[in-house]
C-alpha cells in the first residue's frame, strides 16, 4: 500500500453528516470506511458518492436488468460498453442508446435538453461510430399548466440548438402532455451511429504504463454532483437552487470532438476511449481501468482548467461537457495529440494505467484519493428493494361515469386537435432532419427511415412510450409500448432488430414504485424475447417525483429496424386512388387508456390480454408485404384510434386524396372508431393483392373497410364527410395554437 491520501487544505470535515449530505446512507458510509480501512478524504467521499449514486451504480435496478434478453445473432460486442451495437449487414454496425436528462431539463430546460443530446452523442462516437441520427421522447405536464410553455420552448430550443449545430439530424421523436408530469418532465435522448465493424472501439483499458489522455473542453465547476444530487434524488421546493449543477453545452466543440475522435480512431493508437459523462473524470477513468482489471493513476495538476483554483474534488466531479478520456498505446501520444491539435482541441497526458487495481489521484504532489478500483464499480452496493403492488390503481381517482358521449364527428375534430394527437410539426420543424443526406423519411411518419450510403440497406427508428397504459398495468403497459415501437418500425417495412430503453420511474425506495419497475422490466423482457429484439443498451431514471408525487411509470422504448433494401420502404399515407384500405389487427379495439377516454373523461377501464405470438405475426406480415411490394401504405393505429389514423393517412404531402370507409356493424361505435389498445394497422393496396395479403397475415383479421378516393374528402361510415384540407389544418395548427408559436 502506498502513502495514505492527504486531505486538501480548506476541505470540509468528513463525518456521517457530510456523507448524508452527499446522498450516502449510514451503512454505505460505514462500508466505505471498511473498504478503505480508514475514514475517506473529502475528495474520496465525493468520488464514492457519485459512483455509488443510483444514476451511476444502478444499485436498485441491476437485479432486474440482468433478466432482460441481451443476446442475439445480430448483437455485436460485449456488455458493459458505452452503447450497444448490432450488425446491420454489408460490414456496417449500428450503435445506439437512449438516456434520460429529466431533472436537468426541468431545472434548466434549454441547457438540460441540449446537454442530454450532447451526452448521448458522445456515447455513440466514443464507440468509433459516426452519429447519424437523433430522436427524443419528451413528456411535459398538462398543456395549460403555467410552466409547460416555458419548458417546451426551452427543451425544444435546446435540442434544436445543440443537434442542429452539431450536425446530427433529429429524425423522429414523441411529445406528450399529461398532468402526471407537471412537476417532473421527461427528456429522453436517443442517438444512433454507424461504424464499420472493424472500427468499433472499446472502453476496456489494457497495457500497464499506457498513457491516459484528456481531450476536448477544459474543466470547469459546472455539473458537479449532477449525477448524485440532481439525478438521484426527488424534487422539492429547493430544486431550483440546484440549477448550477446543470451543465452548459457547447455544440461547436462537440462537432470538433466528433471529427477529431473519429480521425484519431483511424490512427489505431487508441486502446480505449470513453466520454466524461456523469461523474466526469472519475467514472471514465475508473470504469475503463476497472473493465480491464487494472488500475489508474491521475495527475490532476495536468487537467486543463477553465478557471484557476479548482480543488481536486471539483476536478474529479466536474461534469463539464465535451470532454473525452483516452487510453493510448504507449509511445503514440504525439500522433494522437497532433490530430486533436488540428481540430484546435486540448489533448493532454494526465495519467497512466497501472497494474495494482487502485484508482489513485495526485494533486500538487500529494495523493488525494487512493481507492481499490473494484469498489467503485463491481463492488458498489446492490439492493434488492422491497416491492408491493399498489392497493389502488393509479387511475382509480378518475371519473368513472360518462356524462355525455360526444357526437363522433365532434370527437374526431377534438381528437385531431388534441395536444397528444395533433401534428408535432411546430416542434420538429425546429430540428434539422436532413443533414448527412440519409433521411428517406423524417419526422411525422410512423418511424424515421434512413438509407446507408453505399449499400442497399437502411434503418428505421422510432421511440415510443405509453404511460397511461403503464399506469393501468405496468406489465401490460410495457408490452404495449414495445409492440407499438415495433409496429411503427414494421409499418415502414423494416424488420425490428433491437431495442434500447430508458426506464423512467419514481423513488425506488418506495415498494409500490419498485413493483412498477419490476413489472415493467418483466413486460419489456417478455415482449423483447417474443420479437427476438434484444435489449442492447439503456438507462434507468429513478426519483422522478416532486413533493412525493411520482410520474406515471414510463418505460421509453426505442426500436431500430433494418431494411435489406431501403428502396422498398412504405409510406404511412395513401397514394393511389382506388386502392383498397384494409384493417389488420390482433384483437378488437378498446377505449382503455385511450386518448378518447382521457379527453372525454370516461373510465380508463382495464387493458386486455396481449397475445405476443399474434403481435409477432403482425410485424412479420408487414415486413413481408413490404418486401413483396404488396402494399402502398401502412399506418399504425395509435392515439385517437382508427378514425384519426385514417385522417392522417389522407394527409399526403404531395397530393390531395381522401378515403371512403364503410359503416362498422357494431353497437360499440366509439370503440371501433376511437379505440386503441390492441394492435391495429391500416394498409392500402391494389385490390388484386388482397388474397396474398390475407394469406400473409393469417390467422389475423384482415378486413377491407373502404377505398382511397381521388376526391379529397374523409367519409367515415355515414357520420363523417369532411374536407381533408380542413381536417389537416386543424391537425397541423392545433399545437402551435395552444403553445403560442406562429411562423
Amino acid at each position: 500500500m502506498s502513502e495514505a491520501p492527504a486531505a486538501t487544505p480548506g476541505e470540509p470535515k468528513v463525518d456521517l453528516a457530510a456523507a448524508r449530505a452527499h446522498g450516502l446512507t449510514e451503512a454505505e458510509f460505514a462500508e466505505i470506511a471498511r473498504i478503505l480501512g480508514r475514514t475517506p478524504t473529502f475528495t474520496e467521499l465525493g468520488v464514492f458518492s457519485v459512483m455509488w449514486s443510483e444514476h451511476c451504480s444502478y444499485k436498485s435496478s441491476r437485479k432486474y436488468l440482468k433478466t432482460l434478453p441481451r443476446e442475439g445473432p445480430n448483437v455485436v460486442g460485449g456488455p458493459g460498453e458505452n452503447a450497444g451495437a448490432i450488425d446491420v449487414g454489408d460490414g456496417w454496425v449500428a450503435v445506439f442508446k437512449i438516456e434520460s436528462h429529466n431533472h436537468p431539463s426541468y431545472v434548466e430546460p434549454y441547457q438540460g435538453a441540449a446537454t442530454g443530446v450532447g451526452g448521448i452523442l458522445r456515447d455513440i462516437f466514443t464507440m468509433g461510430a459516426r452519429p447519424i441520427a437523433s430522436m427524443d421522447s419528451l413528456k411535459f405536464g398538462a398543456i395549460d399548466h403555467p410552466r409547460t410553455r416555458y419548458l417546451v420552448n426551452g427543451v425544444v430550443g435546446g435540442i434544436g440548438g445543440y443537434g442542429n449545430c452539431v450536425g446530427v439530424p433529429t429524425v423522429a421523436g414523441e411529445v406528450m402532455f399529461d398532468p402526471g408530469y407537471n412537476g417532473n418532465i421527461l427528456v429522453n435522448a436517443f442517438a444512433l451511429g454507424l461504424a464499420r465493424r472493424e472500427d468499433l472501439q472499446s472502453a476496456r483499458a489494457h497495457g500497464v504504463g499506457n498513457p491516459v489522455l484528456y481531450v476536448g473542453s477544459a474543466t470547469g465547476r459546472d455539473g458537479i454532483h449532477g449525477a448524485s444530487l440532481l439525478a438521484s434524488a426527488e424534487f422539492d421546493s429547493e430544486s431550483e437552487a440546484k440549477r448550477p449543477t446543470v451543465q452548459v453545452g457547447d455544440p461547436f466543440t462537440e462537432k470538433l470532438l466528433i471529427e477529431a475522435c473519429l480521425e484519431a480512431i483511424k490512427t489505431g493508437a487508441i486502446v480505449a476511449i470513453q466520454d466524461m459523462g456523469a461523474a466526469g473524470l472519475t467514472s471514465s477513468s475508473s470504469e475503463m481501468a476497472g473493465r480491464g482489471g487494472l488500475g489508474v493513476e491521475l495527475d490532476l495538476d495536468r487537467v486543463p482548467l477553465r478557471e484557476p483554483n479548482l480543488s481536486p474534488y471539483e476536478i474529479l466531479l466536474s461534469e463539464s461537457q465535451e470532454r473525452m478520456l483516452i487510453v493510448a498505446e504507449h509511445g503514440r501520444e504525439a500522433e494522437l495529440a497532433a490530430v486533436f491539435e488540428k481540430w484546435d482541441l486540448h489533448a493532454v497526458v494526465i495519467g497512466a494505467i497501472t497494474g495494482d487495481g487502485r484508482w489513485r489521484a495526485r494533486f500538487r504532489g500529494k495523493v488525494v484519493a487512493d481507492i481499490p478500483i473494484a469498489a467503485l464499480s463491481d463492488d458498489a452496493p446492490l439492493y434488492d428493494r422491497p416491492t408491493q403492488p399498489p392497493k389502488r390503481s393509479l387511475h382509480e381517482a378518475r371519473p368513472h361515469a360518462v356524462v355525455v358521449r360526444p357526437e363522433p364527428a365532434d370527437a374526431l375534430r377534438a381528437l385531431l386537435s388534441s395536444p397528444n394527437v395533433a401534428s408535432r410539426r411546430m416542434v420538429f420543424r425546429q430540428y434539422d432532419s436532413l443533414v448527412l443526406s440519409n433521411t428517406v423519411a423524417g419526422p411525422g411518419g410512423d418511424a424515421a427511415v434512413l438509407r446507408i450510403k453505399g449499400s442497399r440497406r437502411g434503418l428505421a427508428l422510432k421511440v415510443d412510450s405509453n404511460p397511461r397504459a403503464c399506469a393501468l398495468d405496468p406489465y401490460l403497459g410495457a408490452i404495449t409500448t414495445v409492440c407499438e415501437a415495433a409496429r411503427n418500425v414494421a409499418c415502414t417495412g423494416a424488420r425490428p432488430a433491437a431495442i434500447t430503453n430508458c426506464l423512467n420511474y419514481g423513488n425506488p425506495e418506495r415498494p409500490e414504485i419498485m413493483w412498477q419497475f419490476a413489472r415493467g422490466v418483466a413486460g419489456l423482457g417478455d415482449a423483447a424475447r417474443a420479437f427476438a429484439t434484444p435489449v442492447i443498451s439503456g438507462n434507468v431514471s429513478f426519483y422522478n417525483e416532486t413533493e412525493g408525487r411520482a410520474i406515471p411509470p414510463t418505460p421509453t422504448i426505442a426500436m431500430v429496424g433494418v431494411f435489406a433494401d431501403v428502396s422498398l420502404n412504405v409510406k404511412h399515407y395513401f397514394s393511389f386512388p382506388g386502392d383498397l384500405i384494409l384493417l389488420v389487427r390482433t384483437a378488437p379495439p378498446s377505449l382503455a387508456a385511450s386518448e378518447y377516454a382521457d379527453l372525454f373523461k370516461i373510465s380508463f377501464g382495464a387493458l386486455g390480454p396481449i397475445d405476443l405470438v399474434r403481435e409477432r405475426r403482425l410485424l412479420d406480415g408487414l415486413v413481408e408485404c413490404a418486401e413483396r411490394r404488396l402494399i402502398r401504405s401502412a399506418h399504425d393505429v395509435s392515439e385517437g384510434g382508427l378514425a384519426v389514423a385514417l385522417a392522417e393517412a389522407c394527409f399526403n404531402p404531395d397530393q390531395a386524396l381522401g378515403a371512403e370507409i364503410e359503416p362498422v356493424a357494431t353497437d360499440a361505435a366509439a370503440e371501433a372508431w376511437f379505440g386503441e389498445g390492441a394492435s391495429t394497422v391500416i394498409v392500402s393496396a391494389p385490390a388484386e393483392n388482397l388474397k396474398a395479403i390475407h394469406d400473409i397475415f393469417a390467422p389475423l383479421e384482415v378486413r377491407p373497410i373502404g377505398r382511397v378516393s381521388a376526391a379529397p374528402r374523409l367519409k367515415l361510415g355515414g357520420w363523417c364527410d369532411e374536407d381533408v384540407a380542413a381536417l389537416r389544418r386543424l391537425y397541423e395548427e392545433a399545437l402551435s395554437g395552444r403553445l403560442g408559436r406562429h411562423d
Binding site: 430550443g157 434544436g160 440548438g161 442542429n164 449545430c165 450536425g167 457547447d250 455544440p251 461547436f252 466543440t253 462537432k255 470538433l256 481540430w343 484546435d344 420538429f428 420543424r429 425546429q430 430540428y431 434539422d432 432532419s433 436532413l434 443533414v435 448527412l436 443526406s437 440519409n438 433521411t439 428517406v440 438509407r451 450510403k453 431501403v566 428502396s567 408559436r741 406562429h742 411562423d743
Partner: protein
C-alpha cells in the same frame, strides 16, 4: 469540372455537398481545409452550410477571416465561380462578396422544411439549366435566413437581375405566407453584379436524389457545371 468544398470548423453540410457533387453527380470534387490558402485548382468553390466556428458571434462573422477566405476573395475577384449555401451565403455577405445581410428568422425559431422557389433570372451561370419562372422545390434549414438590405440596394438588385431565387407558394406566387423567414422581397438567393458569386439559403445539395427529397437541386449544380465548359 473541378469543385472545392471548404470545410470550416463547424461546417456541417460540407460532406453533403461533397456527396452530392462527387458521388451523385459524378463531378471531380474535394474538400478544402480552412487553414490552407490553396483552392486546389477548383473551378467552382462551394462554401457549405453549417455553423462555422459555432456561429456564436454573427453567422459567418469569424469564418470570413479564415486563411482560405483570402484566396476565395481573390478567386472571386478574378471571376471564379463561388457558391455559398446557407452558412456559406452568410459568410459571403459578411465577407462583402455579396450585398445585404442575413438576420434572425421572423419567427425567431430555426426552421427545417421544404419550400418552393421561383427562378427569377435563368440567364446566370448558377441557374441556366432552369427556365425563367420555373419553380424548384428545395429544403431550407436555418435560424438566420431573413435577407435584409437597404431599399436602394434592393432596387438595384432587382434592376440588375441579381435576385436569382424567391420564396413562393405552390402556385408560384411570392406571398407573405410562403416566406419562411421574413426575407425582404421574399429573397432566397442573390448573385453579385458580375454574376460569378451566388448565395442562397436553400440547400440544393439536399435535393439531388429522388429517394431523398427530389432532384430540383441538380439544376443549380448542372448550371454551374455547364457554365464552366
Amino acid at each position: 469540372m473541378k469543385w472545392g468544398v471548404v470545410s470550416f470548423p463547424g461546417s456541417l453540410d460540407d460532406r453533403d455537398a461533397l456527396w452530392a457533387l462527387r458521388d451523385v453527380l459524378g463531378q471531380d470534387a474535394a474538400l478544402l481545409w480552412h487553414k490552407d490558402e490553396s483552392l486546389g485548382g477548383a473551378e467552382c468553390v462551394v462554401l457549405p452550410g453549417g455553423f462555422s466556428y459555432g456561429d456564436y458571434l454573427r453567422c459567418g462573422a469569424i469564418a470570413r477571416f479564415s486563411p482560405i477566405m483570402k484566396s476565395v476573395a481573390r478567386f472571386a475577384a478574378d471571376g471564379g465561380l463561388v457558391l455559398g449555401i446557407c452558412n456559406g451565403f452568410q459568410i459571403l455577405c459578411e465577407a462583402h462578396l455579396l450585398p445585404g445581410a442575413l438576420t434572425r428568422n421572423r419567427s425567431l425559431a430555426f426552421v427545417c422544411d421544404f419550400v418552393n422557389l421561383r427562378v427569377e433570372n435563368a440567364a446566370t451561370p448558377f441557374t441556366r439549366a432552369a427556365h425563367q419562372g420555373e419553380t424548384l422545390r428545395l429544403p431550407i434549414k436555418h435560424g438566420e435566413g431573413c435577407y435584409v438590405a437597404p431599399e436602394d440596394e434592393l432596387r438595384q438588385l432587382e434592376e440588375r437581375g441579381q435576385i436569382l431565387l424567391r420564396y413562393v407558394d405552390a402556385r408560384g406566387e411570392a406571398t407573405d405566407a410562403a416566406n419562411p423567414n421574413g426575407s425582404m422581397r421574399s429573397i432566397a438567393g442573390v448573385a453579385n453584379d458580375r454574376f460569378n458569386v451566388f448565395g442562397l439559403m436553400p440547400h440544393p445539395e439536399h435535393a439531388v436524389e429522388a429517394m431523398l427529397g427530389g432532384v430540383a437541386g441538380r439544376k443549380i449544380f448542372e448550371s454551374i457545371a455547364g457554365a464552366a465548359r
